[in-house]
Protein backbone atom coordinates (compact mmCIF):
# COMPACT_ATOMS: atom_id res chain seq x y z
CA UNK A 1 0.00 0.00 0.00
CA UNK A 2 1.37 3.41 -0.91
CA UNK A 3 1.94 5.75 1.99
CA UNK A 4 1.95 9.46 1.41
CA UNK A 5 4.74 11.57 2.81
CA UNK A 6 2.03 13.54 4.47
CA UNK A 7 4.10 16.14 6.25
CA UNK A 8 5.65 17.43 3.10
CA UNK A 9 2.57 16.95 1.02
CA UNK A 10 0.44 18.91 3.45
CA UNK A 11 3.04 21.62 3.39
CA UNK A 12 3.20 21.79 -0.37
CA UNK A 13 -0.49 21.62 -1.07
CA UNK A 14 -1.79 23.32 2.02
CA UNK A 15 0.51 26.28 2.00
CA UNK A 16 1.21 26.95 -1.64
CA UNK A 17 -1.94 29.02 -2.10
CA UNK A 18 -1.45 30.61 1.29
CA UNK A 19 2.20 31.39 0.73
CA UNK A 20 1.34 33.10 -2.54
CA UNK A 21 -1.57 35.15 -1.23
CA UNK A 22 -0.75 35.79 2.42
CA UNK A 23 1.85 38.52 1.74
CA UNK A 24 -0.77 40.48 -0.23
CA UNK A 25 -3.77 40.16 2.09
CA UNK A 26 -3.15 43.35 4.07
CA UNK A 27 -2.86 45.26 0.82
CA UNK A 28 -5.98 43.65 -0.65
CA UNK A 29 -7.98 44.28 2.50
CA UNK A 30 -6.88 47.92 2.60
CA UNK A 31 -7.72 48.36 -1.07
CA UNK A 32 -11.10 46.68 -0.63
CA UNK A 33 -11.87 48.95 2.30
CA UNK A 34 -10.89 52.02 0.33
CA UNK A 35 -13.07 50.86 -2.56
CA UNK A 36 -16.10 50.08 -0.43
CA UNK A 37 -15.71 52.24 2.70
CA UNK A 38 -16.86 49.36 4.88
CA UNK A 39 -14.99 46.65 6.76
CA UNK A 40 -17.80 44.14 6.20
CA UNK A 41 -17.82 44.80 2.45
CA UNK A 42 -14.02 44.73 2.33
CA UNK A 43 -13.95 41.32 4.02
CA UNK A 44 -16.62 40.02 1.66
CA UNK A 45 -14.69 41.29 -1.32
CA UNK A 46 -11.41 39.71 -0.20
CA UNK A 47 -13.15 36.45 0.70
CA UNK A 48 -14.84 36.30 -2.70
CA UNK A 49 -11.52 36.99 -4.36
CA UNK A 50 -9.83 34.11 -2.53
CA UNK A 51 -12.68 31.74 -3.35
CA UNK A 52 -12.41 32.73 -6.99
CA UNK A 53 -8.62 32.34 -7.07
CA UNK A 54 -8.24 29.06 -5.23
CA UNK A 55 -9.13 26.89 -8.21
CA UNK A 56 -6.64 28.95 -10.25
CA UNK A 57 -3.73 28.61 -7.84
CA UNK A 58 -1.59 26.84 -10.40
CA UNK A 59 -1.93 29.90 -12.63
CA UNK A 60 -1.09 32.25 -9.74
CA UNK A 61 2.36 30.74 -9.44
CA UNK A 62 3.14 31.76 -12.99
CA UNK A 63 2.08 35.42 -12.59
CA UNK A 64 5.22 37.56 -12.56
CA UNK A 65 3.81 40.67 -10.84
CA UNK A 66 1.22 39.25 -8.52
CA UNK A 67 0.23 42.39 -6.57
CA UNK A 68 -1.00 44.50 -9.50
CA UNK A 69 -2.59 41.40 -10.98
CA UNK A 70 -4.50 40.83 -7.74
CA UNK A 71 -5.47 44.51 -7.61
CA UNK A 72 -6.91 44.18 -11.10
CA UNK A 73 -9.00 41.16 -10.17
CA UNK A 74 -10.16 42.84 -6.95
CA UNK A 75 -11.17 45.95 -8.88
CA UNK A 76 -13.27 43.86 -11.28
CA UNK A 77 -14.91 42.15 -8.31
CA UNK A 78 -15.67 45.55 -6.78
CA UNK A 79 -17.23 46.90 -9.96
CA UNK A 80 -19.30 43.73 -10.34
CA UNK A 81 -20.42 43.99 -6.72
CA UNK A 82 -21.54 47.59 -7.15
CA UNK A 83 -23.41 46.76 -10.35
CA UNK A 84 -25.04 43.76 -8.70
CA UNK A 85 -26.15 45.78 -5.71
CA UNK A 86 -27.40 48.59 -7.89
CA UNK A 87 -29.81 46.08 -9.40
CA UNK A 88 -30.94 44.98 -5.92
CA UNK A 89 -33.39 47.50 -4.47
CA UNK A 90 -32.52 48.66 -0.98
CA UNK A 91 -28.92 47.44 -1.08
CA UNK A 92 -25.95 49.76 -1.15
CA UNK A 93 -22.28 50.06 -0.42
CA UNK A 94 -20.44 52.30 1.97
CA UNK A 95 -22.89 52.20 4.81
CA UNK A 96 -21.52 52.22 8.32
CA UNK A 97 -18.58 54.51 7.83
CA UNK A 98 -19.06 55.95 11.30
CA UNK A 99 -18.57 52.50 12.73
CA UNK A 100 -15.42 52.02 10.65
CA UNK A 101 -13.86 55.18 12.01
CA UNK A 102 -13.73 53.61 15.43
CA UNK A 103 -11.47 50.91 14.11
CA UNK A 104 -8.94 53.30 12.61
CA UNK A 105 -5.47 53.20 14.12
CA UNK A 106 -4.95 55.39 17.14
CA UNK A 107 -2.80 58.46 16.59
CA UNK A 108 -0.75 60.72 18.78
CA UNK A 109 -3.12 63.64 18.98
CA UNK A 110 -5.08 65.58 21.54
CA UNK A 111 -8.86 65.29 21.77
CA UNK A 112 -9.47 68.38 19.63
CA UNK A 113 -7.08 67.31 16.88
CA UNK A 114 -8.55 63.84 17.01
CA UNK A 115 -12.06 65.22 16.63
CA UNK A 116 -10.98 67.42 13.73
CA UNK A 117 -9.24 64.54 11.98
CA UNK A 118 -12.22 62.31 12.58
CA UNK A 119 -14.45 64.96 11.09
CA UNK A 120 -12.44 65.41 7.91
CA UNK A 121 -12.10 61.67 7.52
CA UNK A 122 -15.83 61.38 7.68
CA UNK A 123 -16.24 64.15 5.15
CA UNK A 124 -13.70 62.63 2.80
CA UNK A 125 -15.29 59.20 3.09
CA UNK A 126 -18.71 60.66 2.44
CA UNK A 127 -17.35 62.49 -0.60
CA UNK A 128 -15.70 59.30 -1.92
CA UNK A 129 -19.03 57.51 -1.54
CA UNK A 130 -20.51 59.93 -4.08
CA UNK A 131 -18.20 58.69 -6.83
CA UNK A 132 -19.10 55.92 -9.24
CA UNK A 133 -16.93 52.77 -8.85
CA UNK A 134 -14.59 53.61 -11.73
CA UNK A 135 -13.98 57.14 -10.41
CA UNK A 136 -13.56 55.89 -6.88
CA UNK A 137 -11.07 53.26 -7.97
CA UNK A 138 -8.88 55.73 -9.84
CA UNK A 139 -8.86 58.13 -6.87
CA UNK A 140 -8.05 55.28 -4.47
CA UNK A 141 -5.28 53.84 -6.60
CA UNK A 142 -3.76 57.13 -7.77
CA UNK A 143 -4.41 59.77 -5.12
CA UNK A 144 -4.42 57.53 -2.05
CA UNK A 145 -2.26 54.51 -2.89
CA UNK A 146 0.14 56.47 -5.07
CA UNK A 147 0.12 54.41 -8.28
CA UNK A 148 0.95 56.36 -11.42
CA UNK A 149 -1.54 56.47 -14.25
CA UNK A 150 0.65 54.38 -16.54
CA UNK A 151 0.54 51.53 -13.99
CA UNK A 152 -3.19 51.93 -13.66
CA UNK A 153 -3.76 51.40 -17.36
CA UNK A 154 -3.13 47.72 -16.70
CA UNK A 155 -4.82 47.47 -13.33
CA UNK A 156 -7.97 49.41 -14.14
CA UNK A 157 -7.99 48.26 -17.76
CA UNK A 158 -8.47 51.70 -19.28
CA UNK A 159 -6.31 53.88 -21.56
CA UNK A 160 -4.37 56.83 -20.16
CA UNK A 161 -6.70 59.47 -21.59
CA UNK A 162 -9.74 57.82 -20.05
CA UNK A 163 -8.02 57.56 -16.68
CA UNK A 164 -6.98 61.23 -16.73
CA UNK A 165 -10.47 62.36 -17.56
CA UNK A 166 -11.96 60.01 -14.95
CA UNK A 167 -9.59 61.36 -12.32
CA UNK A 168 -10.32 64.95 -13.30
CA UNK A 169 -14.06 64.45 -12.95
CA UNK A 170 -13.69 62.53 -9.72
CA UNK A 171 -11.66 65.35 -8.19
CA UNK A 172 -14.21 67.90 -9.36
CA UNK A 173 -16.93 65.94 -7.61
CA UNK A 174 -14.88 65.55 -4.44
CA UNK A 175 -14.10 69.29 -4.33
CA UNK A 176 -17.73 70.14 -4.94
CA UNK A 177 -18.91 67.78 -2.23
CA UNK A 178 -16.36 69.17 0.23
CA UNK A 179 -17.33 72.77 -0.56
CA UNK A 180 -13.95 73.56 -2.05
CA UNK A 181 -13.21 76.23 -4.61
CA UNK A 182 -14.04 75.07 -8.15
CA UNK A 183 -11.63 75.77 -11.00
CA UNK A 184 -12.73 78.15 -13.74
CA UNK A 185 -16.04 79.96 -13.71
CA UNK A 186 -18.77 77.57 -14.66
CA UNK A 187 -16.82 74.37 -13.90
CA UNK A 188 -19.57 71.83 -13.79
CA UNK A 189 -19.62 68.53 -12.06
CA UNK A 190 -20.52 65.72 -14.40
CA UNK A 191 -21.64 62.32 -13.35
Amino acid sequence: MVRVLSFHLARIVGTSFESLLRPHLDFLHRLAWRFTGSVADAEDLVQDLLLKLYPRRGELATVQQLRPWLAKVLYRQFVDLVRLRARSPGAGLADGQEEELETLPAEEAGPEQHAERGEWRERILAALAQLNPEQRAVVVMHDIEGYVLEELEGILQAPLGTLKSRLHRARQKLRAHLGMEPFAAGERVKR
Binding site: V39, Y54, R175
Partner: protein
Protein backbone atom coordinates in the same frame (compact mmCIF):
# COMPACT_ATOMS: atom_id res chain seq x y z
CA UNK B 1 -3.57 81.56 -19.95
CA UNK B 2 -7.21 81.89 -18.95
CA UNK B 3 -9.06 80.14 -16.12
CA UNK B 4 -10.48 77.42 -18.35
CA UNK B 5 -7.07 76.51 -19.76
CA UNK B 6 -5.68 76.55 -16.22
CA UNK B 7 -8.44 74.17 -15.07
CA UNK B 8 -7.56 71.78 -17.89
CA UNK B 9 -3.88 71.67 -16.97
CA UNK B 10 -3.97 71.88 -13.20
CA UNK B 11 -4.31 68.13 -12.61
CA UNK B 12 -1.19 67.43 -14.64
CA UNK B 13 0.61 70.08 -12.62
CA UNK B 14 -0.50 68.70 -9.26
CA UNK B 15 0.42 65.19 -10.35
CA UNK B 16 3.93 66.24 -11.33
CA UNK B 17 3.41 65.54 -15.01
CA UNK B 18 4.58 68.96 -16.24
CA UNK B 19 8.15 70.07 -16.65
CA UNK B 20 9.33 73.46 -15.45
CA UNK B 21 8.64 75.24 -18.72
CA UNK B 22 5.14 73.81 -18.88
CA UNK B 23 4.45 74.89 -15.30
CA UNK B 24 5.41 78.50 -15.93
CA UNK B 25 2.17 79.72 -17.58
CA UNK B 26 0.17 78.18 -14.73
CA UNK B 27 2.29 79.93 -12.12
CA UNK B 28 1.87 83.19 -14.00
CA UNK B 29 -1.89 82.71 -14.11
CA UNK B 30 -2.06 82.08 -10.36
CA UNK B 31 -0.36 85.39 -9.63
CA UNK B 32 -3.22 87.27 -11.22
CA UNK B 33 -6.21 85.07 -10.38
CA UNK B 34 -7.36 84.78 -6.77
CA UNK B 35 -10.10 82.25 -7.66
CA UNK B 36 -7.72 79.79 -9.30
CA UNK B 37 -5.22 80.35 -6.50
CA UNK B 38 -7.82 79.28 -3.93
CA UNK B 39 -8.83 76.37 -6.17
CA UNK B 40 -5.21 75.29 -6.49
CA UNK B 41 -4.70 75.48 -2.73
CA UNK B 42 -7.84 73.43 -2.15
CA UNK B 43 -6.77 70.86 -4.73
CA UNK B 44 -3.39 70.49 -3.03
CA UNK B 45 -5.09 70.21 0.36
CA UNK B 46 -7.45 67.55 -0.95
CA UNK B 47 -4.54 65.61 -2.38
CA UNK B 48 -2.72 65.74 0.97
CA UNK B 49 -5.85 64.67 2.85
CA UNK B 50 -6.46 61.76 0.53
CA UNK B 51 -2.86 60.63 0.77
CA UNK B 52 -3.11 60.69 4.57
CA UNK B 53 -6.42 58.84 4.75
CA UNK B 54 -5.82 55.88 7.05
CA UNK B 55 -7.40 52.49 6.57
CA UNK B 56 -8.41 50.15 9.37
CA UNK B 57 -6.14 47.20 10.02
CA UNK B 58 -7.31 43.78 9.01
CA UNK B 59 -9.29 42.09 11.79
CA UNK B 60 -7.08 39.61 13.69
CA UNK B 61 -7.72 36.11 12.41
CA UNK B 62 -9.47 37.26 9.25
CA UNK B 63 -6.58 36.26 6.96
CA UNK B 64 -6.36 32.72 8.33
CA UNK B 65 -10.13 32.35 8.29
CA UNK B 66 -10.47 33.62 4.72
CA UNK B 67 -7.62 31.44 3.43
CA UNK B 68 -9.04 28.38 5.15
CA UNK B 69 -12.49 29.06 3.76
CA UNK B 70 -11.08 29.49 0.26
CA UNK B 71 -9.24 26.17 0.48
CA UNK B 72 -11.98 24.55 2.49
CA UNK B 73 -12.06 20.78 2.57
CA UNK B 74 -9.98 20.72 -0.60
CA UNK B 75 -6.81 21.42 1.34
CA UNK B 76 -4.78 18.29 1.85
CA UNK B 77 -3.24 15.65 -0.31
CA UNK B 78 -6.54 14.75 -1.93
CA UNK B 79 -6.55 18.20 -3.44
CA UNK B 80 -3.78 17.31 -5.83
CA UNK B 81 -5.88 15.56 -8.48
CA UNK B 82 -8.33 18.47 -8.39
CA UNK B 83 -5.65 21.02 -9.18
CA UNK B 84 -6.27 20.73 -12.89
CA UNK B 85 -2.83 19.35 -13.31
CA UNK B 86 -2.27 18.48 -16.89
CA UNK B 87 -0.36 15.31 -16.40
CA UNK B 88 0.85 13.01 -13.76
CA UNK B 89 3.57 10.46 -13.87
CA UNK B 90 4.90 8.04 -11.40
CA UNK B 91 8.52 7.47 -10.82
CA UNK B 92 9.50 4.65 -8.60
CA UNK B 93 12.79 5.18 -6.86
CA UNK B 94 13.93 2.18 -4.92
CA UNK B 95 15.39 2.58 -1.49
CA UNK B 96 17.10 -0.64 -0.58
CA UNK B 97 17.19 -2.32 2.73
CA UNK B 98 18.63 0.00 5.27
CA UNK B 99 18.37 2.48 2.74
CA UNK B 100 20.87 3.03 0.33
CA UNK B 101 22.86 0.35 -1.32
CA UNK B 102 21.22 0.77 -4.66
CA UNK B 103 23.17 0.13 -7.80
CA UNK B 104 23.85 3.21 -9.92
CA UNK B 105 21.21 3.79 -12.55
CA UNK B 106 20.94 6.36 -15.33
CA UNK B 107 18.80 9.32 -14.30
CA UNK B 108 15.21 8.82 -15.44
CA UNK B 109 13.68 11.59 -17.53
CA UNK B 110 10.46 13.47 -16.93
CA UNK B 111 8.93 15.69 -19.61
CA UNK B 112 6.85 18.71 -18.66
CA UNK B 113 4.84 21.20 -20.68
CA UNK B 114 6.13 24.77 -20.46
CA UNK B 115 4.16 27.05 -18.10
CA UNK B 116 1.80 24.24 -17.23
CA UNK B 117 1.83 22.96 -13.65
CA UNK B 118 2.12 19.19 -13.58
CA UNK B 119 2.34 16.72 -10.77
CA UNK B 120 5.45 14.59 -10.55
CA UNK B 121 5.17 11.62 -8.23
CA UNK B 122 8.20 10.15 -6.55
CA UNK B 123 7.84 6.86 -4.74
CA UNK B 124 10.42 6.02 -2.12
CA UNK B 125 10.37 2.33 -1.30
CA UNK B 126 11.83 1.64 2.08
CA UNK B 127 12.44 -1.82 3.50
CA UNK B 128 11.73 -0.56 6.99
CA UNK B 129 10.23 2.40 8.74
CA UNK B 130 12.62 5.32 9.16
CA UNK B 131 12.00 7.99 11.72
CA UNK B 132 13.43 11.44 11.20
CA UNK B 133 14.84 11.09 7.71
CA UNK B 134 15.88 14.27 5.95
CA UNK B 135 14.76 14.97 2.42
CA UNK B 136 16.41 17.74 0.40
CA UNK B 137 15.30 18.84 -3.04
CA UNK B 138 17.31 20.88 -5.47
CA UNK B 139 15.53 22.29 -8.52
CA UNK B 140 17.15 23.16 -11.83
CA UNK B 141 16.85 26.62 -13.34
CA UNK B 142 13.43 27.42 -14.79
CA UNK B 143 11.66 24.80 -12.70
CA UNK B 144 9.57 25.82 -9.68
CA UNK B 145 7.48 24.02 -7.14
CA UNK B 146 4.06 25.66 -7.37
CA UNK B 147 3.72 28.10 -4.51
CA UNK B 148 7.44 28.29 -3.70
CA UNK B 149 8.44 31.00 -6.14
CA UNK B 150 12.15 31.08 -6.87
CA UNK B 151 13.09 28.85 -3.96
CA UNK B 152 15.39 26.22 -5.45
CA UNK B 153 16.44 24.35 -2.32
CA UNK B 154 13.99 22.74 0.06
CA UNK B 155 14.91 20.59 3.05
CA UNK B 156 12.67 19.06 5.67
CA UNK B 157 12.50 16.14 8.04
CA UNK B 158 9.98 13.41 7.53
CA UNK B 159 9.25 9.85 8.56
CA UNK B 160 9.29 7.08 6.00
CA UNK B 161 7.09 4.10 6.50
CA UNK B 162 7.88 0.59 5.44
CA UNK B 163 6.97 0.11 1.81
CA UNK B 164 6.08 2.81 -0.68
CA UNK B 165 6.14 6.47 0.35
CA UNK B 166 4.64 8.85 -2.14
CA UNK B 167 5.85 12.39 -2.66
CA UNK B 168 3.74 14.45 -5.03
CA UNK B 169 5.41 17.56 -6.38
CA UNK B 170 3.47 20.16 -8.35
CA UNK B 171 6.16 21.42 -10.71
CA UNK B 172 6.07 24.08 -13.37
CA UNK B 173 8.67 24.49 -16.10
CA UNK B 174 9.09 28.10 -17.19
CA UNK B 175 11.26 27.74 -20.29
CA UNK B 176 12.13 25.21 -22.95
CA UNK B 177 15.27 24.03 -21.20
CA UNK B 178 16.36 20.84 -19.57
CA UNK B 179 17.95 20.37 -16.18
CA UNK B 180 18.55 17.97 -13.36
CA UNK B 181 16.33 17.64 -10.34
CA UNK B 182 18.13 16.20 -7.32
CA UNK B 183 16.57 14.65 -4.23
CA UNK B 184 18.81 13.62 -1.34
CA UNK B 185 17.39 11.33 1.31
CA UNK B 186 19.46 11.06 4.49
CA UNK B 187 19.07 9.04 7.64
CA UNK B 188 21.74 8.90 10.30
CA UNK B 189 25.10 8.51 8.61
CA UNK B 190 23.64 7.25 5.34
CA UNK B 191 22.34 9.14 2.42
CA UNK B 192 21.13 8.45 -1.07
CA UNK B 193 20.95 10.84 -3.99
CA UNK B 194 18.26 10.54 -6.63
CA UNK B 195 18.57 12.34 -9.90
CA UNK B 196 15.84 13.14 -12.33
CA UNK B 197 16.27 14.76 -15.71
CA UNK B 198 13.58 17.31 -16.52
CA UNK B 199 12.94 18.20 -20.14
CA UNK B 200 10.40 20.29 -21.99
CA UNK B 201 7.72 18.28 -23.74
CA UNK B 202 8.12 18.52 -27.53
CA UNK B 203 5.65 20.94 -29.10
CA UNK B 204 2.89 19.82 -31.37
Amino acid sequence: MDCRSFALRVDDWIDGRLDKAEQEPLRMHLQGCAGCRRGHEDAEALRAQLRALPAPAMRPGFAEQALAKAGGPRIGYRAVPAMALAASLVLAVGVAAILFAVRPEPAPTVTLSVQQPESVHLVFNSAKALQGATLSLSLPQNVQIVGYGDQRELTWRTDLREGANLLQLPLVLHARTSGEFVAVLSHGESSKTFRLKIEARPQG
